[in-house]
């Protein structure tokens, strides 16, 4: 009962924060203008158009709403991926980057930039790079002992190291005048690239991925009991583990391909969710999605409005993530027993 109330409150909070986000930025809009433009776009003419209606429409639909959508999708996807990884590895200190997806996606994007591929090419290469890195890590684990989770973590470490080295190599060979700054800026994480078209690619996989992973929630709870016990409860452990890793990896790689490297969120947010609704993954996963979306929206609002020049959102997310994590850390002792 309490958990469902928290869930509803989180969703309501997300809508409120999204509305506020539509108003803040370099050109502050007030709620009336936003509402008018939205109603007008929906075909309802609420009254005579204000003199700046065209400008408001352009700001809102050309820039702000896609960004808000992007922040929601990226924040939700990273948090769900993080919560899923933590459940699969039975470890609250795991982040979506564990198996190398972030390093791989970064390398893919850098390759795209050095190659001179357009924005879509960079995004595509980044997505492929993320999947390739995880596939490599899992492959290394399989060469030795497929069933061992420790081997999987080692595989991830090796894959991360390899792709980080490749990324350094690409930075080294990149043209220092224009390519290197592009790579660096891209790695900082930013939502400036989110176009309506990119958003339309992002929305469906994030929604479906979140729903599929949440549907596995009760089985993931069973996995917390240990592999063998989970099998005696009727859970196909290996299929579940690799299925969930696959789904979470696709989500994480997608976020990097549209928004660059935004770390932390995936590690911090599931803890906050567990604090609110308890350890059951059926609730932790969707609530993580909501909180992650709110968190990244707030970060992006700050990125857009703190200074005249936009600050990379990845940077803000890292800083704010540290603040949130440190402030909830004393409470977290209730959330797990280490």
């Amino acid at each position: 009962m309490r958990a469902s109330v928290v869930g509803c409150l989180c969703f309501a909070g997300l809508i409120v924060v999204a509305m506020v986000s539509a108003c803040v930025g370099r050109f502050p809009l007030h709620a009336g203008q936003v509402l008018h433009a939205m109603l007008a776009a929906a075909g309802v003419e609420p009254g005579p158009p204000p003199p700046d209606a065209d400008m408001v429409h352009t700001i809102l639909f050309g820039a702000r709403l896609p960004r808000i959508g992007g922040a929601i999708c990226v924040g939700a996807a990273l948090s769900v991926a993080g919560a899923a990884y933590q459940a699969v590895f039975r470890n609250p200190l795991v982040s979506p980057g564990l198996l190398g997806v972030l390093a791989g996606a970064g390398t893919g994007a850098a390759l795209g930039i050095v190659w001179g591929a357009g924005p879509a090419g960079v995004a595509g290469l980044s997505f492929v790079g993320g999947l390739a890195a995880v596939a490599f890590g899992v492959g290394v684990a399989h060469m030795f002992d497929a069933a061992s989770m420790l081997m999987l973590v080692f595989g991830g470490l090796i894959s991360s190291a390899l792709f980080t080295a490749l990324l350094s190599l690409l930075k080294y060979v990149a043209d220092p005048q224009n390519q290197l700054p592009d790579i660096v800026f891209w790695l900082l994480g930013s939502l400036t690239q989110v176009t309506p078209r990119a958003l339309s690619v992002l929305v469906l996989p994030v929604l479906v991925g979140t729903m599929l992973l949440s549907a596995c929630g009760r089985m993931l709870d069973g996995l917390a009991m240990g592999d063998e016990e989970a099998r005696t409860l009727g859970i196909p452990v290996m299929a579940l583990r690799y299925g969930v890793i696959g789904g979470a990896t696709v989500l994480a790689a997608l976020t990097v391909s549209v928004a660059g490297m935004i770390g932390w969120v995936g590690l911090v947010v599931p803890h906050v969710a567990r604090l609110l609704v308890g350890p059951c993954n059926m609730r932790v996963l969707p609530v993580s999605a909501c909180i992650g979306a709110i968190f990244l929206l707030v970060c992006d609002d700050l990125a857009r409005s703190l200074s005249a020049e936009e600050i990379p959102v990845g940077l803000i997310a890292d800083l704010l993530g540290v603040v949130v994590f440190v402030s909830v850390l004393p409470l977290l002792r209730r959330g797990w027993r280490a």
């Binding site: 039975r90 470890n91 609250p92 949440s214 549907a215 596995c216 929630g217 009760r218 089985m219 709870d221 069973g222 917390a224 009991m225 240990g226 063998e228 016990e229 099998r231 005696t232 409860l233 009727g234 859970i235 196909p236 452990v237 567990r274 308890g278 350890p279 059951c280 059926m282 209730r334 959330g335 797990w336 027993r337 280490a338």
Partner: protein, 248 residues
């Protein structure tokens, strides 16, 4: 009381771990309504035998039969509906409540459902009532004592609704009263038609409580029959006798 067809049957099973043979040519059957104790010194192969019976590992040669079909032909879900396992109490990382843990016994029925159905809920409540842990339902499992945790894991196995129960040293960490209640419960389950197999380190208690005892030493069955007869002082001494110069 014995049903004619065994629910679980090991047929000339051999199991190797690396180059070491852990179980040599083992054959025995488990019947409904029977309370079986599995005894043997540490390292005799009890745990491996339990894992074989649960279908967690496959034998190198021979066959494990469950309800008349080879174990390997059943899916994990189908095995979980027929065999429930009560491990030794352990502490998971996340503080699931007692009701959450007992509810995991229903995973084989509804793995993808967002919440338990009415039939699942009633199975969970019934199992908790059977173990007298309903008052603990909302408590975090991680806060419980060893005996309470054991009761929760037993309730989960009951909620699973399986006909065969396999328990790994269920009396570990229980006080005298809790042990007596545990044995009474196992007896009641057997009378309801469950097949119950438990490993135990207490031969004298086992002789009084169990119908049948299977003695395992060095991966071989060295005794199998009515618990009172098999677990005589002489047999127990020989079962636990040290090998050569072993210190303890």
């Amino acid at each position: 009381m014995k049903a004619d067809t065994p629910v679980l049957c090991l047929d000339h099973v051999r199991f190797r771990h690396g180059r070491r043979t852990v179980l040599h040519d083992l054959s025995f059957a488990i019947h409904a309504g029977e309370l079986t104790a599995l005894l043997g010194p540490n390292g005799a192969g009890k745990t491996t035998l339990l894992r074989l019976m649960l279908g967690l590992v496959q034998p190198d040669t021979g066959q494990v039969w469950l309800d008349g079909r080879p174990m390997a032909d059943w899916s994990r879900r189908e095995v979980a509906r027929r065999i429930a396992y009560v491990p030794q109490g352990h502490v998971p990382l996340f503080p699931y409540t007692v009701r959450d843990i007992v509810g995991m016994g229903r995973l084989a029925e509804t793995p993808f459902a967002p919440s338990l159905r009415a039939t699942d809920c009633s199975a969970v409540e019934h199992a908790m009532a059977e173990l007298a842990i309903t008052r603990l339902a909302g408590r975090p499992y991680t806060d419980l004592s060893g005996g309470e945790r054991q009761a929760v894991l037993l309730a989960r196995a009951l909620a699973q609704g399986a006909r065969t129960l396999i328990l790994d040293e269920p009396e570990t960490g229980l006080d005298h009263g809790q042990k007596q209640r545990l044995y009474a419960l196992l007896r009641r389950l057997a009378e309801q038609g469950h097949a119950v197999v438990a490993t135990t380190h207490d031969p004298f208690q086992a002789a009084r409580v169990f119908d049948r005892a299977v003695l395992l030493r060095d991966g071989r069955i060295v005794g199998d029959g009515p618990a009172e007869t098999v677990l005589c002082a002489d047999m127990v001494d020989r079962l636990y006798a040290p090998h050569g110069q072993t210190a303890i």
